[in-house]
């Protein structure tokens, strides 16, 4: 039983990583209605960009920022170069899912082709142990929690306090109506892709830091957990994504401590299935119901 408080703290740390990634994923799905399977591969690409910077002598926390910036530009290019042309070409929402799967495969295995199947590690301090409420955490973990809270707060302020945030929420709720009101929905979509890219890049590097050694499969192994947290909170709901990430993150670590590590995600996903039966739109899902995702 002594393990449980430690599992909860550790679960909260992994929930922070998951929350950054899930908010980015869910926000972009909400605004642009494109289910982006390439999100995990983009995380991997960003983690390797940070690796290159890190090897060139850039400190790891600065490399996190570089990866965030790279992620924004990369996601914008994916939208301008692939997703928007396919949308204009008349590719439906279903087929767009396959477009993103294809793109994800190309990106992931391009990383594999360049860096091979080896494990990579950042040059970093492991951090000093700190005692909080009788649980030992490292300073690295505390910085990660700080990054997550900062990123999520910034996202919240952007959505709630700025004109861009209002435009994003309007576009998410009803794209046609938003356009009729004079909102440039294409520009809003670009902004959503970029914001999603920043969070994606930061999440990729932070994830690589927490698991210590990573391969080209970094994002691919994590993407299903992101999907689970996003669906649990309500697809397209940034705040739901935060909630879903905490539920999935904490329950997986507690289940690993109480039952056995192999059941880590099974328990968390079983909660997801139960939620889907009772409330298929997810905990906080509301207006997605009008876009034909849930009946």
């Amino acid at each position: 039983m002594q393990l449980v408080p430690e599992a909860i703290v550790f679960g909260l740390v992994s929930a922070c990583v998951l929350a950054i990634a899930t908010v980015g994923f869910s926000l972009q799905v909400g605004v642009t209605n494109v289910l982006n399977f390439a999100y995990g591969s983009t995380m991997t690409v960003c983690a390797f960009v940070a690796y290159l910077c890190n090897r060139a002598g850039v400190p790891i926390w600065l490399a996190v920022c570089v990866a965030g910036g790279f992620g924004a530009i990369f996601s914008l290019l994916l939208n301008r170069g692939v997703f928007r042309p396919f949308d204009r070409h008349g590719t439906g929402v279903h087929s767009a899912i396959y477009v993103s799967i294809g793109l994800g495969l190309i990106l992931q295995y391009a990383v594999d082709g360049i860096w091979g199947p080896d494990f990579y590690v950042y040059r970093q301090d492991i951090g000093n142990p700190v005692h909080i409420l009788g649980v030992v955490v490292t300073t690295t973990q505390l910085v990660i929690v700080g990054i997550a809270l900062g990123a999520l707060l910034a996202t919240h302020l952007l959505l709630a306090r700025t004109r861009l945030g209002t435009a994003m929420r309007a576009t998410a709720a009803n794209r046609q109506l938003a356009r009729t009101c004079g909102i440039d929905t294409d520009a809003v979509a670009d902004a959503a892709w970029m914001l999603s890219g920043v969070l994606c890049g930061v999440a990729g590097v932070v994830l690589a830091i927490t698991i210590f050694a990573f391969t080209f499969e970094l994002g691919d192994q994590f993407i299903i957990v992101i999907f689970a947290a996003a669906v649990l909170g309500g697809l397209g709901q940034p705040y739901g994504a935060m909630l879903g990430a905490v539920v999935i993150g904490v329950t997986s670590e507690v289940a690993a401590a109480l039952i056995q590590p192999e059941f880590k995600e099974v328990v968390a996903f079983a909660i997801l299935v139960a939620v889907l039966v009772i409330r298929p739109q997810g905990i906080l899902g509301e207006f997605v119901g009008r876009r034909g995702m849930v009946r």
């Binding site: 929402v93 279903h94 294809g102 495969l105 190309i106 295995y109 091979g116």
Partner: protein, 330 residues
């Protein structure tokens, strides 16, 4: 022809048959708009069922692998049981997802289920031998026909071919039947189909269960041939490979799916095996997967209906033309 070449060709034919059964089953679901990204777990369920029902009790092999309910049933029964198992697990999974989830939600829910299944199979050591999986699975009818290994392989090609013909007949019957027209209507415009009094949920559940049974059959045929089955055989990206075959061939056309299957899972992965190896180890694999991704993008851009698109449907008075020649394109 040397026996090595014959072995190679026969093996490829069996794998082609297995993929073909799976792709027809997947297409049955995709053409109704059921985005079954958990498809591969039905193949896995069939493979495990058939394996356990031919292996016999674990003690017969000196308890080197642990699984539940081992039996030694005569030949067609393990395959029939595999179909039943695939259909049986399709019912609860379908009831969770199909009545209320659509589009992105449906795809994500199935994908998450696929991962749950893999993790459960690895965590529950006693059910199907955990991450190591099952091995030493006896080949069906090997004790009855008494053939040399090469002759048996050709015999298995025949067996797989017979199953394929049966599955084609079934799939063509379904797509040419009133149910098939209902499915096409649901795919094109679900709201309209429902407004005309069609029971959408029931139709979707029907194809989900039928597709699950066929997927399980493909797993049973596969495991009888390769003799081993483990969680690494059915990771969720395998579903994407089958879906690529359907996209390339043409989702609206059963013969198109046949061409797609020959082109993607079989042709693609087998032909590249003969390429000279270059680059570091694993480089060819990476290039193959990138090419699969590129293939999806190119087809969705240039030929979204695949190599063989859905033919035009001509209706005769009273009954459709396709009922006279089931599954004929057009």
């Amino acid at each position: 022809m040397s026996s090595a070449v014959q072995f190679y060709i026969a093996t490829d034919l069996v794998l082609f048959g297995v993929d073909l059964i799976a792709c027809w089953a997947l297409n049955l679901q995709l053409r109704t708009g059921v985005l079954n990204f958990a498809f591969i777990i039905f193949q896995a369920a069939g493979a495990y069922t058939a394996a356990i029902l031919t292996l016999g009790p674990s003690s017969a092999h000196g308890n080197i692998q642990s699984y539940i309910g081992g039996m030694t049933l005569p030949f067609p029964l393990p395959w029939v049981a595999a179909c039943a198992c695939g259909a049986a697990i399709a019912v609860p999974l379908g009831l969770i997802v199909l009545p209320r989830l659509r589009g992105s939600y449906e795809a994500l829910a199935f994908l998450v289920m696929s991962l749950i299944a893999t993790q459960l199979a690895e965590a529950l050591q006693g059910v199907a031998n955990g991450p190591t999986g099952l091995a030493l699975i006896p080949q069906p009818l090997a004790g009855v026909v008494h053939l040399s290994p090469l002759a048996y392989t050709w015999f298995y090609v025949g067996l797989t071919g017979a199953v394929c013909v049966g599955v084609y007949w079934f799939v063509a019957r379904v797509t040419g039947s009133p149910l098939g027209r209902k499915l096409r209507a649901i795919h094109d415009n679900e709201a309209a189909a429902e407004a005309l009094g069609k029971n959408v949920t029931w139709a979707r559940l029907t194809v989900f269960v039928a597709g699950g049974a066929l997927a399980a059959l493909s797993g049973a045929v596969l495991v009888g041939f390769i003799g081993a089955w483990s969680p690494s055989s059915w990771r969720y990206p395998e579903t994407f490979v089958l879906a690529t075959a359907v996209i390339v061939g043409g989702w609206g056309n059963n013969l198109g799916v046949l061409i797609g299957t020959a082109a993607v899972p079989v042709g693609f992965f087998e032909i590249t095996r003969f390429f000279p190896t270059f680059g570091p180890p694993g480089f060819i694999d990476a290039v193959q997967w990138m090419a699969i991704g590129l293939l999806i993008l190119l087809f969705l851009w240039f030929r979204p209906d695949g190599i063989l698109p859905e033919g035009r449907h001509r209706w005769r008075r009273g009954r459709p033309a396709s009922a006279a020649a089931p599954g004929a394109p057009g």
